[in-house]
C-alpha cells in the first residue's frame, strides 16, 4: 500500500526526521490560511498523488503569494495528474501539500528497500540526488552505496558513517545523519515498510540535512497490525475495479484487450494471459480469484470482469488445488444467472473435483463452452473474441 507524501512526512516527523513546516488542503479556499499559518513569503505547492515525476508534469510549483497557491489548488484539485510513472489516465489529485520554502545547497538521494537477493533491508544512497538517479545507478554505479542491515543486529553507527562518506557529508552533517539513519530503520521495521525513498534529501543553505520528499510503501501483508497506516489508505489512487476486487480479496489488474480472464493463482493467471496472446488474442484483465475461492467470490469476480465494456468473451481457467472445481462451476452458474451474461463463456476446469464441475456446467441450460485442455480453451476464446 502506498502513502501520500504528506502522510510519509508525518511519519518522518514522528520519528524525529527534519521535514518542512506544512499544511494539507482539500479546498482551494484553504490555501490562503495555510500560507499564513506556515509564514514566510514563498511556498512550495505540491499535488498529492501516488506517483513520482510530479515536478516535470507541473504538479509542483514555487509560489510567492497565497493567491498563486489558491490558483495552483484550483488548477489541480479534482483533476488527474499524468507523469511518466502513471498510466495515460494519471492519478486523481484530491489534496495539495503546501510547504515552507527550503533553500537548497545540495540534492542527495537516500532510500531503503527489502532486497530479495541479500534478504536484508538495504539502504541505497548517492550524492547525486534528484530526477536522474536511475541513470546514475546505470552509468556511474560507483556513486551509489548499498548498505544491508542485519535483521537481528539492526542499523549501526558505522553503517551511517559509510553512507555519509558516499553522500559527501561533512563532520557536522554526519553527526546529524547517524540518528536519522537509525530512526529511518526503526520506522521501516515498526511500520512494516517495503520501500522508503527520500529524493531529494537536501543540504540546506544553512548546511543541514532536510527531507524534501517522502515516498513510503507499506507491506500489504502487514496492514493487519498497522491500524493507523490502514486509515491512511486512499482508494481514489486506485483503479475503481481494482479497489472493488481488493475488497473481495480478489487480485485484479485492468488491461486493454477484450478477453476477460478469471483464473486461480497469480502465476497461472499470467500464464493464461500469455497463452491468449500466443494464440493471437488480447486479455482484458489479470484476475486471480485466490486459493480459497468461494461461490460468492466467483460471482463478484464475474461482475468485475463484465463491468469492463470491452470484454467480448470470458475465459475461466481453474486448476483446483485447494479450490474445488464443483464450487467454481456453481459460482459461474450463479453469477451468470445473477448478472445475466450475454457474451460467450469458455470454462476450463482441472484438478480437485474437475469432473464434477464439468458435469454441473454441462447439465446447466446455459451456453458455456467447457473445454478441459488449456490450449484448446484459449484458442476457442480467441476465436470467439474476434
Amino acid at each position: 500500500m502506498n502513502l501520500h507524501e504528506y502522510q510519509g512526512k508525518a511519519l518522518f516527523a514522528e520519528y524525529g526526521l527534519p521535514v518542512s513546516t506544512s499544511k494539507v488542503i482539500y479546498e482551494p479556499e484553504d490555501a490562503h490560511k495555510a500560507c499564513r499559518d506556515i509564514g514566510g513569503s514563498k511556498w512550495v505547492v505540491k499535488a498529492q498523488v501516488h506517483a513520482g515525476g510530479r515536478g516535470k508534469a507541473g504538479g509542483v510549483e514555487l509560489v510567492d503569494s497565497p493567491d498563486d497557491a489558491i490558483a495552483f489548488a484550483r488548477k489541480w484539485l479534482g483533476k488527474r495528474l499524468v507523469t511518466y510513472q502513471t498510466d495515460a489516465d494519471g492519478q486523481l489529485v484530491n489534496s495539495i501539500l503546501i510547504e515552507e520554502c527550503t533553500d537548497i545547497s545540495e540534492e542527495l538521494y537516500l532510500s531503503a528497500v527489502i532486497d530479495r537477493d541479500s534478504q536484508r533491508v538495504v539502504f541505497i544512497g548517492s550524492s547525486e540526488g534528484g530526477v536522474n538517479i536511475e541513470e546514475v545507478a546505470k552509468n556511474t554505479p560507483e556513486k551509489i552505496i548499498y548498505e544491508a542491515i542485519d535483521p537481528l543486529c539492526g542499523a549501526q553507527g558505522f553503517q551511517a558513517r559509510k553512507i555519509a562518506k558516499v553522500l559527501k557529508l561533512n563532520n557536522q552533517q554526519t553527526k546529524q545523519f547517524t540518528p536519522m539513519f537509525k530512526n529511518l530503520m526503526k520506522l521501516f521495521i515498526e511500520k512494516d515498510l517495503s520501500l522508503l525513498e527520500i529524493n531529494p534529501l537536501v543540504i540546506t543553505s544553512g548546511g543541514l540535512l532536510h527531507c524534501l520528499d517522502a515516498k513510503i510503501n507499506i507491506d500489504s501483508n502487514a496492514i493487519y497490525r498497522q491500524p493507523e497506516i490502514a486509515d491512511m489508505h486512499d482508494p481514489s489512487q486506485e483503479d475503481p475495479r481494482e479497489s472493488e476486487a481488493a475488497k473481495n480479496d480478489l487480485s485484479y489488474v485492468s488491461l486493454d484487450g477484450n478477453i476477460g480472464c478469471m483464473v486461480n493463482g497469480a502465476g497461472l493467471a499470467m500464464g493464461t494471459m500469455d497463452t491468449i496472446k500466443y494464440f493471437g488474442g488480447n486479455p482484458a484483465n489479470f484476475l486471480d480469484v485466490g486459493g480459497t475461492a468461494t461461490q460468492d467470490r466467483v460471482s463478484k469476480a464475474f461482475k468485475i470482469i463484465l463491468d469492463d465494456p470491452e470484454v467480448k468473451v470470458v475465459l475461466v481457467n481453474i486448476f483446483g488445488g485447494i479450490v474445488r472445481c464443483d464450487l467454481i462451476a456453481e459460482g459461474v452458474l450463479a453469477a451468470i444467472k445473477e448478472v445475466g451474461v450475454e457474451i460467450p463463456v469458455v470454462v476450463r476446469l482441472e484438478g480437485n473435483n474437475a469432473d464434477l464441475g464439468s458435469e454441473i456446467l454441462s447439465k446447466a441450460n446455459i451456453k458455456i463452452e467447457s473445454i478441459n485442455n488449456l490450449g484448446d480453451a484459449a484458442k476457442k476464446a480467441v476465436e470467439l473474441a474476434q
Binding site: 530479495r116 546505470k138 525513498e197 500464464g271 500469455d274 497463452t275
Partner: protein
C-alpha cells in the same frame, strides 16, 4: 529415491485442528503420508484424525519424533510457528500459509539458515513425492511416480507442469512449490542442487515468473552445476509494466526481472525454454 520427503518422513502438522489443516491432512493421510500428530496450542491431549494433538513442538518431538513440519497456522502466527519448529530441530519445515509479513520472513530466514534447516514457502503449495508422501495442498490425482523433478514459484503453474508430464507418461520424482513471496525459505538453487544429486530425477522442470532475479541466478547455477537437462517456462511474458513508486525498486533490480531478460539468460546458460505454458510437457519429451 526422491528429494526431501518419502514414505518414511514423520510429519507433524502445525495448526492441525484448523479447517484447512484438517482438510489437507485428511487427504495427505489418505495418500499414505506418515502424519504422526499435530500441534494446536490449548488442544494438547486431544486426538484429531486419529493422531495425537500437542500444545508445543517440544512435547511432539519427545513423544512422536517428527522430522518434518507442515504449517497451516494463520499468517500473523507463522513466524512463531516456523521458529518453534526450527528451534526444536525439525529438519524440514513447509509453510503453506499466504500473507506472511515480509519483515517476519527476514528474521525467520536468517535463523533457519543459521540452524542449517530447510524451509519451503511460505505462500506455497508445498511438496510431494508421488506415491510416497504429500506435504501440501496440491491435488494428488494429477501426480504419478516418475523421473521429472519439478520446481515452481507458483502453485497452480506447478499443477499445470505436473499434469502435462503425467499425461505424457513421464511422472515426477518430487515436486516442490517454493512460493512466490519476496523472501522464500528455499530458492530455485537450493532445490536444483537436490534434484541434481537425486538418481531418480532424469530432467528438471523449472517454472518461473516475472519479478526478482531468482531465475537469472538459477540460470547461472545450472550452467556451472547441473548436468541434467532443465526445461523452463517463465510466466508473465505479456504482463504490462506496473505503476511505479519512486526509483529504489528499479535501481536494485538494475532493469532485470522481465520475462525477456529471464528467458535470454536461461537460454544463454543452456536451459531449454518452453515458449508457451501448454508446451511444457512436449518440450520435456523433445529434450529426453
Amino acid at each position: 529415491m526422491s528429494i526431501l520427503v518419502n514414505k518414511d518422513t514423520r510429519v507433524i502438522v502445525q495448526g492441525f485442528t484448523g479447517s484447512q489443516a484438517t482438510l489437507h491432512s485428511e487427504q495427505a493421510i489418505e495418500y499414505g503420508t506418515n502424519i504422526v500428530g499435530g500441534i494446536t496450542p490449548g488442544k494438547g491431549g486431544q486426538t484429531h484424525l486419529g493422531r495425537p494433538v500437542f500444545d508445543t513442538m517440544e512435547e511432539a518431538v519427545n513423544t512422536v519424533q517428527p522430522n518434518a513440519s507442515l504449517i497451516f497456522v494463520p499468517a500473523p502466527f507463522c513466524k512463531d510457528s516456523i521458529l518453534e519448529a526450527a528451534e526444536s530441530g525439525i529438519e524440514l519445515i513447509v509453510c503453506i500459509t499466504e500473507g506472511v509479513p515480509t519483515l517476519d520472513m527476514l528474521d525467520v530466514k536468517k535463523r533457519v539458515d543459521e540452524l542449517g534447516l530447510t524451509l519451503i514457502g511460505p505462500n506455497c503449495p508445498g511438496l510431494i513425492t508421488p506415491g510416497e508422501a504429500k506435504l501440501g495442498i496440491m491435488p494428488a490425482s494429477i501426480h504419478k511416480p516418475g523421473s521429472i523433478g519439478i520446481i515452481s514459484r507458483s502453485g497452480t503453474l506447478t499443477y499445470e507442469a505436473v499434469k502435462q508430464t503425467t499425461d505424457l507418461g513421464f511422472g515426477q520424482s518430487s515436486c516442490v512449490g517454493i512460493g512466490g513471496d519476496p523472501i522464500p525459505g528455499s530458492s530455485f538453487i537450493d532445490i536444483l542442487r537436490l534434484f541434481e544429486k537425486d538418481e531418480q530425477t532424469k530432467a528438471i522442470v523449472m517454472v518461473g515468473e516475472i519479478g526478482g532475479t531468482a531465475e537469472e541466478e538459477a540460470a547461472e547455477f545450472i550452467k556451472n552445476n547441473v548436468t541434467k537437462p532443465v526445461i523452463s517456462y517463465i510466466a508473465g511474458q505479456t504482463a504490462p509494466a506496473g505503476k511505479r513508486m519512486g526509483h529504489a525498486g528499479a535501481i536494485i533490480a538494475g532493469g532485470k526481472g522481465t520475462a525477456a531478460d529471464k528467458i535470454s539468460k536461461l537460454k544463454e546458460c543452456g536451459v531449454h525454454i518452453a515458449e508457451n505454458l501448454v508446451e511444457i510437457g512436449t518440450k520435456v519429451k523433445e529434450v529426453l
